[in-house]
Amino acid sequence: MCDQTFVAITFGPCDSCSENRPLMNLYIKTEPINYCSLCMEIMACQDLAGGETLNSLKAETESLRKRLEEERKKLHDVELEKVAEKAEALSALNLKTRRTLKGHANKVLCMDWCKDKRRMVSSSQVPAHPVFNSSQEHAVSMPTTWVMACAYAPSGCAIACGGLDNKCSVYPLSLDQNENLAAKKKSVALHTNYLSGCTFTNSDMQILTCSGDGTSALWDVESGQLLQSFHGHSADVLTLDLAPSETGNTFVSGGSDKKANIWDLRSGQNIQSFDTHESDVNCVKYYPSGDAFASASDDATCRLFDLRADREVSIYSKDSIIFGATSVDFSLSGRLLFAGYNDYTINVWDVLKGTRVAVLFGHENRVSSLKFSPDGTAFCSASWDNTLRIWA
C-alpha cells in the first residue's frame, strides 16, 4: 500500500450524479466540490462557462504552467551527482553471454520472465511462440504475425500475448508438451489498434494492456470485462510498467507523443506527466523502490525521472550513441541501468553517477527487449537476430 498518496481520493456519493464512486476533489471558483471522474470529464468538456474566452483560457494555461515550474523548482534541493558522491565507485563488470537461446525462426519482439526465475516466454514476428527453460518446452501458434507483447502470469501457469490482432489473449499452460495450447485460448482484451504491451497485475486474474489506439486498460481475465481505461496520450502508447507492489496502485506508460505518464489504477486519472523526451518513448521501467522510473527513447537517450521531485533528474546519453534505445531495465539494487539499442548493442549505465559503465556486443540485429530475472541474477535480451541471450 502506498505511503504517499499522490491524489487525495475519497469514496462516496458524487455531488452531481449521486453515485458512489471514487471522487476527485475539485475547486470551482474556490468552492470545493466532490465530483466523480466521469462527471468531471463531462463538466470539463462543456462549453466555456460564463466570462471565459479562448484567450483567457490560454492565458490561464500559461500562468498555471509557470506556477507548476516554480513549484517544481522549490522541490529542487540537491543535485543527484552531489548526493551520489557518497556512493562507491563501481568495479569493472565482467558480463558475458551465458546462454544463447535459438528457437525462433524470426525476429524476437518481446520476452518476459517467470517468477520461478528460470523460465521465460518470448514472442516473435511469426506464429510460434516458445516457452523456454534451458530447452524449449512449448510452442504456441498464433493466428497473427507480429506478436509484440507477451507476459508470464505470476503463478507461472499461464501466458498472455497479443499484437497486430488488437487483442490480448491468455493461454493456460499445461504439462503436456504436445497439447495444442491455441485451443484453450481465452480472449481478454480488445482494443481498436495494435497491442503494444501487456502485463499481469499481482495475480493471474487481471491484465493491464496498452495499445496503439492511445489508451491503456485494465481487464478482468475471467470475464473479459473492462475494469478501467486510461485516456490521456495523444498518440500510440508503446510501453507500460506497474509500480512495485509496496508503493501502491499506479503504473507508468510511455508513448509516441514523447510523454511518459503516471496513472492511478483506481480512478483512471493521469497523476503525473513528463515530456522532456525528444522522440517516441519506447520503454519505461520503475526504479526498484518505486520512487523513480527510467525511460528509453528513439532520441538515443535514456532518462531518469524522480516522482517525488516531479522532474527528470538524469540523462544517460553519449555523442557516439546515435540510434534509438528500445528497452531498459534496472539491476536489483537499482544502481545499474541496462539499455538495448537499435545499433545492436547494450549499454550499461551507472544510474547515480550518470556515466557509462560498459557496452555489450553480441547481437547481430537490433535489441528489441531486455529484462532482468526476478532475483536479479541475470538478464535476458531479445533481438531481431532471432535469438535471446542471457547475460550474467
Binding site: 475519497t10 469514496f11 495475480s203 532475483d375
Partner: protein
C-alpha cells in the same frame, strides 16, 4: 464503428526517422576535407574512382572523434554502411564494415535515406529494367525473381517503366566514363540497402538532431534513490558475488534451492532484506510466514489476515467480488465479528457506507489504515522479537563455491519443477488441510491469498 482521431498515429504511419539528422551530421563531419577521413583516388579495374576511403580509416576516425574503443567504432561504422550512407566498393552486397584496406565511398545525398522520398517499387522496376537493357542476364537470382514479380504486378505500366529505363540508360551513356561508374556504384548501393536480398537484415533508420549530451543534474529529493542503491548494494548479484554462486555462471542451482519460496531455513541475506522495509517482509512469502507466526503469538493475526483478504479482493476475479467483500465485512468489520479489527470510527464509517455499493477498492481506506498500523507498530516489535531473532540465528550463510567442475555441471542441467506442478502440490496440500482437524486460520488464509483464490468461510 471506429472513430478515428485526427492526431499523430505514431510509429505505424510515421517512419521512425529521429536519428537520421544525427547520422547526416556525422557523415558531413567525416567528409570535411581538412578534419575528415582521408580519401584518395583508387584504381578499380581500368577506371579511377575518386574519393575512396578505407575501412580502417573510417573506424580510426570514429574512435578518435568520439573517444570510444575500436569495437564500438566498428559498430557505429557498420550502422553507417547498413543505412546506406557509406557503401563498399568491393563485395557490395554485404553491408558491413571491414576495418582493413577495403574501400568505401560516401553515398551522394541524393540517395540518402530520407523521410520525404519513399522508396517506390516503380523506381526499383525501372532500375532493374535498365540493368537488363544494359546487359541481358546480368541480374542476380533474387533480382530476377523480383523483376518477374514486379512485371506481373505492374503490367499495366510496363510500357512506361521500359520507356523510363531506356531514357535513363541513354542519359547515362552520355556521361563521362568515371562519372558513370561512380553513379552506377551509388545506385547499386542504394538498392542493396532498400531492396536487400532475402534473409538479410533490413534496418530502419532513425534520425536525431545531434545535440551534445548535456548531463542535466537538477534534482529534487533523489537522496532516496542513492540510499536505496547503497542499501541493496550487497544484494545485487551484479555488484556483489551471490553466495554460494550465481547459477547462470556455474550451472550450480544451490542458490535457487536455498532461496526457494517455502524453505525451512532461509539464508542470512534473505533475512537481512526483511529488515530493510515492511514491504520487503510482506513481499517474501517466507518472511510473511515468519511474521504471521509472530502475530499469532501476539494474538493480533487478524490484522494481517484482513490485509491479505483485501489484497485478494483487489486483484481477484470480478465475478466473486461482491461475495468476497461481504464475507470480509462479516468476518472482520461487523460488530461482534469473529476476527474484528480495530480501525478508527471515521474509516469504519466510510467503509461501511462504501460497502452498500461494493467495488474492488471499497476497502482501500481500511486496508491502508491497517497496513500503517502493522508497519508502525507490529513490524518494529517483530524485529525485536524472539521469533525473528531465532530465525536470524538459524539462517544459513553458504560458502562461496570454487569455480571448478563447470563442464560437469553444465552436463547436469535439468529443467526446474514446472509451476503447474507446484500449484497442483499446493492445491493438494490445501485439500488435505481442509479435511484435517482445527485449522489455523491464518495459515490457510495466507496460503490462499497468495494464489488469488477465493477466501473460504472462516473456521473456528
Amino acid at each position: 464503428m471506429t472513430i478515428r482521431n485526427v492526431r499523430d498515429h505514431g510509429q505505424r504511419f510515421r517512419p521512425r526517422m529521429t536519428c537520421l539528422k544525427k547520422v547526416e551530421a556525422v557523415i558531413l563531419e567525416m567528409q570535411d576535407p581538412k578534419t575528415g577521413v582521408k580519401s584518395q583516388p583508387q584504381r578499380l579495374v581500368i577506371t579511377t574512382i575518386p574519393h575512396a576511403i578505407t575501412g580502417e580509416d573510417i573506424v580510426a576516425w570514429l574512435a578518435n572523434r568520439y573517444s570510444i574503443q575500436t569495437e564500438e567504432a566498428c559498430t557505429l561504422g557498420r550502422m553507417l554502411v547498413a543505412f546506406g550512407y557509406i557503401y563498399p566498393l568491393q563485395d557490395h552486397k554485404r553491408l558491413i564494415i571491414k576495418p582493413d584496406a577495403s574501400l568505401y565511398r560516401f553515398q551522394t545525398p541524393y540517395f540518402w535515406p530520407a523521410q520525404q522520398w519513399p522508396v517506390e517499387d516503380t523506381d526499383y522496376a525501372i532500375y532493374l529494367a535498365k540493368r537488363n537493357i544494359r546487359k541481358k542476364g546480368i541480374l542476380e537470382m533474387y533480382e530476377q525473381e523480383q523483376y518477374n514479380s514486379l512485371h506481373k504486378w505492374m503490367n499495366h505500366k510496363w510500357d512506361f517503366i521500359v520507356m523510363q529505363a531506356k531514357e535513363q540508360y541513354r542519359a547515362g551513356k552520355e556521361r563521362k566514363k568515371p562519372d558513370r561508374v561512380v553513379f552506377d556504384c551509388q545506385e547499386r548501393a542504394y538498392w542493396v540497402v532498400h531492396r536487400p536480398p532475402v534473409r538479410s537484415t533490413r534496418t530502419h533508420v532513425h534520425a536525431r538532431t545531434c545535440t551534445h549530451a548535456r548531463k542535466r543534474t537538477h534534482i529534487g529529493s533523489c537522496v532516496f534513490l542513492v540510499k536505496y542503491s547503497i542499501t541493496y548494494n550487497k544484494h545485487d548479484p551484479f555488484l556483489a558475488p551471490c553466495l554460494p554462486s550465481n547459477p547462470w555462471l556455474t550451472d550450480d542451482v544451490t542458490y535457487w534451492m536455498l532461496n526457494m519460496t517455502n524453505v525451512e531455513i532461509p539464508t542470512k541475506m534473505r533475512v537481512e532484506r526483511w529488515t530493510f522495509s515492511f514491504g520487503e517482509l510482506l513481499a517474501d512469502p517466507r518472511g510473511r510466514a515468519d511474521f504471521t507466526l509472530f502475530l499469532k503469538k501476539e494474538f493480533s493475526g487478524e490484522n494481517l489476515a484482513f490485509w491479505e483478504a483485501c489484497e485478494d479482493l483487489k486483484w481477484g476475479t470480478a465475478a466473486t467480488m461482491n461475495e468476497k467483500a461481504q464475507q470480509i465485512y462479516k468476518t472482520f468489520l461487523a460488530r461482534g465479528a469473529p476476527r474484528w479489527i480495530n480501525i478508527d470510527g471515521k474509516t469504519m464509517e466510510v467503509t461501511v457506507k462504501g460497502l452498500k455499493h461494493p467495488h474492488r477498492y471499497v476497502l482501500d481506506a481500511a486496508q491502508t489504515h491497517i497496513f500503517m498500523l502493522m508497519k508502525k507498530d507490529s513490524y518494529g516489535r517483530y524485529l525485536k522479537s524472539p521469533v525473528f531473532k531465532e530465525t536470524q540465528k538459524r539462517a544459513i550463510d553458504p560458502e562461496q563455491h570454487s569455480v571448478t567442475q563447470l563442464e560437469a555441471n553444465a552436463k547436469k542441467r535439468r529443467p526446474s519443477l514446472s509451476p503447474i506442478i507446484v500449484r497442483q502440490q499446493e492445491e493438494e496440500e490445501r485439500a488435505r488441510m481442509a479435511t484435517s482437524g482445527p485449522v489455523d486460520i491464518t495459515q490457510v488464509m495466507s496460503k490462499l491469498s497468495n494464489k488469488g483464490k477465493e477466501v473460504p468461510p472462516p473456521k473456528k
